[in-house]
């Protein structure tokens, strides 16, 4: 029986820039930052109230995960804003939206009342987009 999700990956164009975005702008906590040899790094972060779920900031690089030009294709898709990797929650959407905007974060959609709830859509430094909802 599956009991929980421990790791989830976000594919990023540049790990240093993603660190700045997720840690310094979004306020996520660094869970593990392990240098793995020249040019390689295992970097996971977590939201302040969900330390048990590690979000892996996974660089898109040629290697065993991306073979035969797949890395370049993936980078292009991410840049184009193809992927929406998840839904984040906050306590107050209007306040969080204003704060993120003040920090220069780009929104595809401002807080909007939809039939399914109140949500905004923001984009990370790579081009991945996320829904941001308000805790019910």
């Amino acid at each position: 029986m599956i009991t929980q999700l421990s790791h989830v990956s976000i594919f990023v164009l540049n790990q240093d820039s993603a660190y700045d975005f997720y840690v310094n702008k979004l306020g996520f906590k660094v869970h593990t930052d392990a240098p793995m040899g020249p040019g390689m790094r295992w970097l996971t972060v977590c939201t302040p109230e969900q330390p048990e779920l590690e979000i892996t900031l996974m660089p898109i690089e040629d290697g065993m995960m991306f073979k035969d030009g797949a890395a370049e294709q993936m980078r292009e898709l991410v840049k184009k804003g193809t992927f929406g990797f998840g839904v984040f929650e906050c306590n107050d959407l209007n306040a969080t939206y204003e704060e993120m905007k003040a920090k220069g974060i780009v929104f595809k959609k401002p807080p909007t009342k939809e039939f399914y709830g109140y949500e905004a859509l923001f984009v990370d430094d790579s081009g991945n987009w996320f829904s941001l909802g308000q805790k019910k």
Binding site: G37, M65, A95
Partner: protein
Amino acid sequence: MRIPMKSDFPKIYIYKRIVQAKLFIDTHFDDCIDLNNIADEAYFSKFHFIRLFKTIYGKTPHQYLTKVRIENAIRLLQKGMSVTDVSFFVGFTSVSSFTDLFKRYTKMSPSAYQRQFMEKQEQIKTDPLQFIPACFAEQKGWTQKSNFQ
């Protein structure tokens, strides 16, 4: 044409000012700021400001300021700064009040936290695979120690 009333805009206007005050705390936590400074920043009366801030962030401005100071203390302890230096650097006026509040937030003393963090960093350095799911390590070609050392 109807002239817009003040009540057409209140929410976003208030949010902007409260968020501004929150960002003020985030960037001036190490200064000797008090509630009046923060309320001034938001152009509110002190009591109106406390009520609105708590409604939005679930904490009074003072509780939030303490939280920001402790979080920054954690960041500095992780960099190896001494407990005494950290306590003054983040805006506390006494080491003992810093230590008490730190314990209340993290359930351990600043020095115990620093020791535990440094031990984890040492483990990450010597045995990083302990912290990486095997499937990812395999895909990255890190399963042989010689690949990353």
